[in-house]
Amino acid sequence: GESVGLHLPTLSVQEGDNSIINCAYSNSASDYFIWYKQESGKGPQFIIDIRSNMDKRQGQRVTVLLNKTVKHLSLQIAATQPGDSAVYFCAEGRSGGYNKLIFGAGTRLAVHP
């Protein structure tokens, strides 16, 4: 469903550890999934995307995994750095036409030295 104003869950990790942020999506017809990063005082910024015909995609230090069977998406950040501290949102959408992007509730990642 639609994301609503909720206090964000927080994931705390030590600098250098790997982080895994999870997201459950709602629409089995969604064919496009995106992770966004929102730093304090800024709008969300694109990190990585994945199409529904894939189950894994890697970027620089980030990996997105898609499990369509259970409608689950995860973002893995390798060797987490203080600059990774932010709020992370997943989003789902469908290509073409009336294709409103639906955002998840978000997770705050806190990286400790």
């Binding site: 994301s3 104003g5 909720l6 709008g43 009336y98 409103k100």
Partner: protein, 114 residues
């Protein structure tokens, strides 16, 4: 322009006054979104415009909120008779209608109702 532009970046208004927030989307983007984000919280969907289709207004919290968009250009979000609970950052995003539906966000307008 190069990105989504929102104005003003900050707005302080007195309770009961009307405010108008502006969003300039990326040129050529047919889709435009408005979100509200209260401090420390997630993105609250307000309204979605897609081309000439009827907008999805399902997220507007009350009839004090309205938004307009002419074609694929500028959008304005209007809040009438502002209340303190309206204090938040209002984010606008735009996207194209092709295979890639990535939404690009503006920096937001921080609204404070005193």
């Amino acid at each position: 322009g190069a990105g989504v532009s929102q104005s003003p970046s900050n707005k302080v208004t007195e309770k009961g006054k009307d405010v108008e927030l502006r969003c300039d989307p990326i040129s050529g983007h047919t889709a435009l979104y408005w979100y509200r984000q209260r401090l420390g919280q997630g993105l609250e969907f307000l309204i979605y415009f897609q081309g000439n289709s009827a907008p999805d207004k399902s997220g507007l919290p009350s009839d004090r909120f309205s938004a307009e968009r002419t074609g694929e250009s500028v959008s304005t979000l209007t809040i009438q008779r502002t209340q303190q609970e309206d204090s938040a950052v209002y984010l606008c995003a735009s996207s194209s209608s092709g295979a890639r539906t990535e939404a690009f966000f503006g920096q937001g307008t921080r609204l404070t109702v005193v």
